[in-house]
């Protein structure tokens, strides 16, 4: 469904991306146009090497297009300088990675608190938010655990708590179930579904898993750097 009110949340306009390896130019994306309305749950699918991660990184502002524009909530993020872009990511994007990317030396609580250290929130406000986020993912009783002491599915739920703790505009997830068994994957997809429905989070997710894609409202296919 995903009705859009005025402008879409994410607009990808004529985006091309190529990488340089030595002097050879490797085209990865060609002339991509996508509009993601607010409240959307979009799944990006396609074969390995088709450019899904690259496109997701462009939307999340950790990479820049070779040509074209990426506009998120009216901000052309290609025009931000590096530190402005870092600040923008901190307040607008929640990241969920395939391998969770939790910091192993920090507890679940400290991991979830990390993005809040970039805000002006007081210690007690941060504590409230972290506890709320961990409660939401069902791990309120695991706050003091280190990643090593958690199962893969639990680690990914901590990572999701970290992604939503700043209440970002957009969640980006790159194969969030790619490293999980069927049961854990199902739990993660239910959680993302709930974040989308109940909390109106806009989600862009890359996945190989058709079952995961079922939860999305829209499925977009990439094929050799072009929308199929």
């Amino acid at each position: 469904m995903g009705e859009s009110i005025g402008r879409p949340m994410v607009e990808v306009r004529n985006v091309s991306k190529s990488y340089h390896r030595d002097s050879i130019e490797i085209p990865v994306l060609q002339q991509i146009n996508i509009a993601v309305p607010e409240g959307e749950f979009l799944a990006l699918m396609g074969p390995s090497g088709s450019g899904k991660t690259t496109l997701l990184n462009l939307i999340a502002g950790i990479d820049r297009p070779t040509s074209g524009e990426v506009i998120v909530q009216g901000t052309n993020i290609g025009q931000l300088n590096e530190s402005a872009l870092a600040r923008w990511r901190a307040s607008h994007i929640g990241f969920v990675f395939q391998f969770y990317n939790l910091l192993p030396v920090l507890t679940a609580f400290d991991n979830v608190e990390l993005p809040l250290l970039l805000t002006n929130l007081s210690k007690s406000e941060r504590r409230n938010r972290v506890e709320l986020a961990l409660k939401l993912v069902g791990l309120a009783d695991r706050m003091a655990h280190y990643p090593k002491q958690l199962s893969g599915g639990q680690e990914q739920r901590v990572a999701i708590a970290r992604a939503i703790v700043t209440d970002p505009t957009l969640l980006v997830a790159d194969e969030p179930t790619g490293d999980l068994d069927k049961v854990s994957a199902g739990e993660i997809m239910d959680l993302l579904d709930r974040l989308n429905k109940e909390f109106r989070k806009t989600i862009v997710m890359v996945t190989h898993d058709p079952r995961a894609a079922e939860k999305a409202h829209t499925v977009t296919h990439l094929e050799k750097g072009e929308l199929a």
Partner: protein, 389 residues
Amino acid sequence: MKIPLSYSWRSLWTRRLTTTMTLAGLALVVFVFAAVLMLAHGIEVALIDTGSDDNAIVIRRSSTSELVSQIERDAANIITTLPQIARGADGKPQASTETYVLINLEKKETGDMGNISVRGISPGAMQLRPQVRLTEGRMFRFGTDEIIIGQNIARRFQGCEIGQTIRFGESDWVIVGHFAAQGSAFESEIWGDVEQFMPSFGRPVFSSVTVRLRNPEEFTRFKASVEQDPRTQMGDVKREREYYREQSALMSSFVRILGLLVTFIFSIGAVIGAVITMYAAVANRTVEIGTLRALGFRRRSVLGAFLVESTLLSLIGGSVGIGLAALMSFVRISTTNFGSFSELGFGFALSPSIITASFVFAVTMGLIGGFFPAVRAARLNILTALREA
């Protein structure tokens, strides 16, 4: 500094083995660094504390020490009656005309010969030096061939027991007491009656005159009186403390320079150790760095986190090193002071400035060791870092 301290701290703790080895290297170098400074300071303390602020010493102008100084009896008589000098209970000026020579004795442990200072004193000397205290036996009687021996000499040289006789000059001398002097250079001397020593050594002149001033501010006037009178103007007047500071300079500087040179060479090793550890830390945590950057932490926060990590490493290493060095305070050393060519006992003396210097040194090593790895961490490209997964 947005990345929490606990991240740096726990990262160190996580790789305990490499952390411990790097720490050991840093601690060792800081230990050597602090020990060298403590030793040089110990030499200064031993000599400087030999002097007192209330006392002034007169030696012959352009003599570097008492050993080569000559003050004629006439001049000494004029100096000891100057009005700036304090008077004792007996109404006599508190002054000591002294002779100072070196003799040779055999060391207990090695049997080698060592130089020992022999000081002839006059009756006023004990009032000038309240730190001197008999530990055994009694004070020698003036007008006799009795002597007392500083405890550092008594411990280390043969034939220094009470009742034994030592031969030097043209005579035999009977030991009647041992004395301590709060660790100062006097503890490494032999004392007797100056009027007995002078004929025995065939010296018609004194080496120095030491006086206690009525109050320390009178020093300038006392100095002027001595240096302006044509009969005493060959005398050079110094505060006693200042004189002994000069006596310590040669040896303490030597220890300090040689020691710091050695430390510097060691420190290169420790810094290389820190560099290797920190580069390994960066390489192992590439994904973590990429994740932090994706979450919105800036390059300089990453730089800071790794610098904090190497600084923590060096602070702990530094504390351990200083702690070990502090144990050296209990060690005492006795050797030849090549400022005066005579035996001198001293210890490792810790001071607040040595502690500060050691920490500064440790942190400098940590920062140098951590700098390039931290820059490497900060320079990582987010995407390449995340791809390491």
